[in-house]
Symmetry: C2
Subunit: 100 residues, 2 copies
């Protein structure tokens, strides 16, 4: 379920910001391609962890937020971030990511 390379980061930003639009994700995760972002958002939605709300406006607006189930992941994401902050530098990195 956490298979996706960016899912944890997506969830992290949702815990930080509550609600995010597609373009806001793009700003927060600049090195995720549009395709991958769409892809992972849809998978998270399919797993019932986030919700997607389309506002029929011009220009279009789509908002993502955590579902109740998604919110239960807080301890996991939190533990992951804590660990990353403390120890990620100890681990061999192949490439720098979009700083989460």
């Amino acid at each position: 379920m956490f298979g996706g390379k960016w899912k944890a980061l997506i969830l992290y930003h949702l815990f930080e910001d509550g609600v995010l639009r597609f373009s806001e994700f793009r700003r927060r995760m600049p090195n995720v391609t549009q395709r991958m972002l769409t892809n992972q958002l849809r998978e998270l939605e399919a797993d019932g962890l986030i919700s997607r709300t389309v506002f029929p406006e011009v220009p279009p607006r789509v908002e993502y937020e955590l579902t109740d189930l998604g919110k239960t992941l807080k301890p996991v994401i939190h533990a992951l971030k804590e660990w990353g902050d403390k120890y990620a530098h100890s681990v061999t990195q192949k490439k720098e990511s979009s700083g989460g």
Copy 2:
């Protein structure tokens, strides 16, 4: 770093049991192939999370345990397991795993 499908489970068993031999992993995770188990153990070792000790005996014996760095992952693995125990059933599963 958690890319591997079985890494979290490997770490979990090490937190449970302290030290494990190759064959003990196999018993605890029957549906991981020998190749994948070796593979993921080596990656964890390369990342400095576990150590591998070979005892030059007959029959051969190899023991795996957590390094100090590996032990710092306890909160993460713990949070993950807690979540799994509570909510994994809420999520669509494609296949059952080796029960962790």
